[in-house]
């Protein structure tokens, strides 16, 4: 469903993505690992249309979306939960969630309200805070809101950039199981995670990025078995 070929992206003079190619199948949960600065966020941002690639192709369901603007990309069913959350801190929690559904907004709000209710079930900590300013939430609650907002757009391709940041262990597990459920419903998911252990538990396949390119790829069991990767991305505690 998503296929990227020979992608190159610059930040100013820095080449953040270099000749990168990847494939994601329908209903797959793809985990991307990589050290700080490997270019993971840049990759997701480029797919979402935030950055314009200098080379290469991004094909989503037979459409070339490279260089399209975010609003066009979103309309095709791609949603990104960004690294820095980017919530609307002066708007209420509810408005934030509703805006997540901006591109599928209709006069009839009942369907959206239903979806909001579902999100509240997923994140009980947000319950009762619908009218609060999003900016007054704690860091973790904001992260939940950002994920919730991403889900509100009912994407067919959901990209999450380190969603576990700032979340309590219980909640991280909760999110991972949500992802598995979504995947079962046919949503394709690209998950960038540093919380490797949790991510690998749910991954179908794994990519490892280094310096803007992909150095390893395989199924999650392959990767867990690879001792080099283990050392680099799972830490010695895991090896022991």
């Amino acid at each position: 469903m998503l296929s990227i070929k020979n992608l190159g992206v610059y930040h100013g003079y820095v080449q953040a993505i270099n000749n990168l190619s990847l494939e994601a199948k329908e209903g797959e949960l793809l985990v991307i690992l990589g050290a700080n600065g490997a270019g993971k966020s840049t990759l997701l941002g480029t797919i979402a249309g935030l950055y314009r690639p200098s080379a290469g192709e991004i094909i989503f369901r037979n459409n070339s979306i490279a260089g399209q603007k975010p609003d066009q990309v979103v309309k095709q069913g791609i949603s990104l939960v960004p690294e820095k959350r980017e919530i609307f801190s002066s708007l209420s929690v509810l408005d934030n969630l509703m805006l997540g559904a901006f591109h599928r907004y209709r006069k009839d709000k009942s369907e959206l309200m239903n979806d909001v209710k579902e999100i509240m079930e997923l994140f009980p900590a947000l319950k009762g805070r619908e009218r609060d300013q999003a900016g007054s939430l704690s860091g973790g609650l904001q992260q939940m809101l950002a994920i919730g907002r991403g889900l509100m757009s009912r994407p067919t391709l959901l990209m999450l950039d380190e969603p576990s940041i700032g979340l309590a262990p219980l909640v991280v597990r909760e999110i991972m199981s949500i992802l598995v459920q979504l995947k079962k419903k046919g949503v394709t998911i690209i998950l960038v995670e540093q919380n490797t252990k949790s991510a690998l538990k749910v991954a179908d396949s794994v990519l490892v990025m280094e310096r803007g390119g992909i150095t390893h790829s395989g199924s999650s069991s392959d990767v867990i078995a690879d001792s080099l990767i283990q050392e680099a991305y799972l830490g010695k505690a895991h090896t022991n």
């Binding site: 610059y10 100013g12 950055y51 314009r52 200098s54």
Partner: protein, 326 residues
Amino acid sequence: MHLKNHKGLILLLFLLVIPLKLDSNYLYSTLVIIAIYSIVVQGLGILMGYAGQVSFGHAAFFGLGGYTAAILTTRFHWPTLLALLAAAILPGIIAAIIGRQTLKLRELYLALATLGFGILVHIIFNEGGELTGGPSGMSGIPNLTIGTISFDNDQKFYLLVWFMLLIILVGIYNLVHSRTGRALCSIRESEYAAENAGVDCARLKLQAFIFSALLAGLAGGLYTFYVTFISPSPFSFHTSVQFVLMAVIGGLGTFWGPLLGAVVVVSLNELLREIVPLLIPGAGGEYQIIIYGIILVGLMIFQPKGLSSIGRYFRQPPKKELKPEG
């Protein structure tokens, strides 16, 4: 930034500019005006570019300096040098008084408060009756005299203001490359984090505000002694906007920005006055204004970080630049 070079550059500027021998009083006076404005913008550059506090009221400090010098010399017959000193100090004191409260405001609200202050001071100049000469202003201001030297012609005045400007440049160079300069920047970037590093933000912002008011006042005093006539009109909101313009056009938070901004804005005006009639015969001031506005807009579009960032192009390899989508 390659900081080491800058001191050398200032020295070079010093050697080049100070002994400049021109046989044109016009050029001298253009350079005098550039230096006077540049002194104001140096202070404003510290306040806006480093501490990140916008002021739309610096014409008021400029004017307060000007009027202090004018009133002290004509009404109270102070020696001119002393009056010039007072012209710097009084705006500083006023900045200290109003700054504490005002600087609590953020961004546009601060801009607005300083704008209000500027308008208020302008009204005071107009309503000052005998003391300020009201809207008609005051004439008969003596020439500046230091010791036995009277700065009574363009060339002498030019030497004086550029000498002062260069001293200020060296001082500002030191300032921005000290812990104080860094602390000012950190206030601009995040007050929470700056406080947490031990910076007393309120106090440092106030110091920067006072400093900029002192420089504006000094420049105002110099202006008065140069023109020897003063009226409220050069100290209106319009002038405050011009100062901000110079600071931004030159490049905020850069060392050469303020000087560059003053040079470009003043000489653009002068050049347009010369060139426009050549390009469009019989053209009046209208075309000058239109073109001036267009150039300003163009500069901000193509050089949003100010002119002094042009240097960047020479230091780094030109590669394809990534443009955020609009």
